[in-house]
């Protein structure tokens, strides 16, 4: 089990950093939508590196997760709004984002605390992103969307799949995180962390392929 924890601690940032490197490499060739996704990848990489640094310094890095959830969701909401522009009102995104940020702040200050694992915020974030990604899949089947966003469809298929796979699986892990921590051994917790790492890698692999299939013109 020591091997698993080492793997997660030392290599969790690798897929994120690789994708971030590629996003940086192609950034100038990307359209508005994929640039927003790149911001999310850059931010994830930054948080991952900062969290590893704090861990090596033996400092509590859980407050970073609260920040990651709030800012990450905001960027992803902007990304989805850019993709779905014309098909959904901006008001829905603004109201949804503001309410979610408020919830993250209230959760960090009053409910779970800043130095506690932000499982509530992560659960809500997962629910919102699952709704967005599933609805986007349904919209992507429509001919009008295929025509109006034709160059982006291939990339969106990969990116949306990555987000859906990661957040759908993470929902279970985040939701039952507290319960697992109470009921099961440290080994089971490490295995769950490994599964999370696997889904994180899958998501970033999907991002990588999505960026690879970026609109060429």
């Amino acid at each position: 089990m020591q091997g698993i924890s080492d793997l997660i601690i030392h290599y969790a940032y690798v897929p994120i950093v690789v994708t971030a490197g590629y996003a940086l490499f192609v950034y100038k060739k990307l359209g508005h939508e994929l640039r927003l996704l790149s911001w999310f990848i850059f931010f994830s990489a930054l948080v991952q590196v900062a969290s590893a640094f704090l861990w090596y310094q033996r400092m509590n890095n859980l407050w970073l997760l609260h920040l990651y959830v709030a800012v990450g969701f905001l960027i992803l909401a902007m990304f989805y709004y850019a993709v779905l522009k014309g098909f959904i009102s901006s008001r829905i995104f603004w109201i949804g984002s503001i309410l979610f940020i408020l919830f993250v702040i209230v959760n960090a200050v009053f409910i779970q605390g800043l130095y506690t694992y932000a499982s509530h915020a992560l659960t809500v974030e997962s629910v919102l992103l699952i709704i967005l990604s599933l609805s986007t899949f349904m919209l992507m089947m429509d001919d009008l969307f295929k025509t109006s966003k034709a160059p982006l469809v291939k990339s969106m298929n990969w990116i949306n799949s990555g987000l859906f796979i990661y957040y759908a699986s993470s929902l279970l892990l985040f939701y039952f995180g507290d319960l697992v921590a109470q009921l099961f051994s440290r080994t089971a917790n490490l295995q769950i962390a490994l599964v999370h790492f696997m889904f994180l890698t899958i998501m970033h692999f999907c991002f990588f392929v999505g960026l690879w299939h970026r609109p060429k013109n």
Binding site: L84, G86, F87, I88, S89, I92, T123, V127, L128, I130, I131, L132, L134, S135, M138, L139, D142, L144, F145, S148, L171, Y175, F176, D178, L179, Q182, L183
Partner: protein, 261 residues
């Protein structure tokens, strides 16, 4: 009896059902929003297509009319002038010619005069000069007088006082009238044609009816009818179903007066 551990697990699992329900509800709700916006966008796209189609039709008719005007003007100014000069020379020749040549020269003069009349008729049909100068009603009345004399039919034009109509409507309605009268004369065996134009505040109503035997399907599906439909469409008008009192052919058109150039 469930153990405390099982109860603890269940208390976590049950709210999760709520979470799953929330996701499903959210997806359905968002999907409804998407469907609504998709329908709106599709309607907008259809509207744009129709506008584009009208624009194309208008442009094509305008190009056709422009070309007709050019040909009419060329015929009148160039060919007409040449034929008139030729006629004058022939008259002069007639005066100074011997008896032997006189008959031939007269023949040539008659042919030239006949060519001049045909040329003026074609030029007038291509682009009636009086439409521009005197307007639609006067031109239709002149057409009625000419048709009544030449074709032995009673063509009545009943029109109230009309405001100054856009050129596209005047020309469009004039061409439609010509097509309808040609159809009646060719196929209907009619004795009376009635043509009425009524002005409403925002649109014109145009009635046409004859007392003939109606039109054969070949004439209804023919190029003339297609032209009428195209012109009505280009004027953003519509054809209203109607019937003739005498059992003949009848047609009613409504042409809006706004958005016309």
């Amino acid at each position: 009896m469930a153990s405390p551990q099982e109860l603890n697990f269940l208390s976590g699992l049950l709210p999760f059902t709520g979470v799953v329900f929330l996701i499903a509800f959210g997806v359905v709700l968002l999907n409804q929003v998407f469907r609504k916006n998709l329908t709106r966008q599709k309607l907008k796209q259809e509207e744009l297509k129709t506008v584009h189609h009208h624009e194309l039709l208008r442009a094509s008719i305008a190009a056709q009319e422009g070309e007709r005007k050019r040909i009419a003007s060329d015929l009148h100014d160039e060919l007409g002038a040449v034929l008139s000069i030729a006629r004058m020379h022939l008259i002069q020749l007639e005066e100074h010619s011997a008896e032997v040549q006189l008959a031939s020269i007269r023949n040539i003069r008659t042919l030239t005069e006949s060519a001049l009349v045909s040329m003026r008729r074609i030029s007038h049909e291509l682009m009636p000069a009086q439409l521009e100068s005197f307007g639609l009603v006067k031109t239709l009345e002149a057409l009625a007088t000419r048709t009544n004399t030449e074709r032995g039919i009673q063509l009545h034009v009943l029109a109230e006082e009309l405001p100054t109509l856009p050129w596209s409507i005047q020309l469009g309605l004039y061409r439609i009238c010509l097509e309808l009268i040609t159809n009646t004369l060719k196929h209907a065996d009619a004795h009376v044609i009635e043509l009425r134009i009524v002005y409403r505040s925002s649109y014109l109503v145009f009635y046409y009816q004859d007392d003939g035997k109606g039109l054969p399907s070949s004439a209804i599906e023919g190029l003339g009818t297609t032209n009428i439909e195209a012109r009505v469409s280009a004027l953003s008008g519509r054809i209203v179903p109607s019937h003739s009192d005498g059992g003949g052919f009848a047609l009613t058109l409504e042409i809006p007066l706004n958005n016309q150039r």
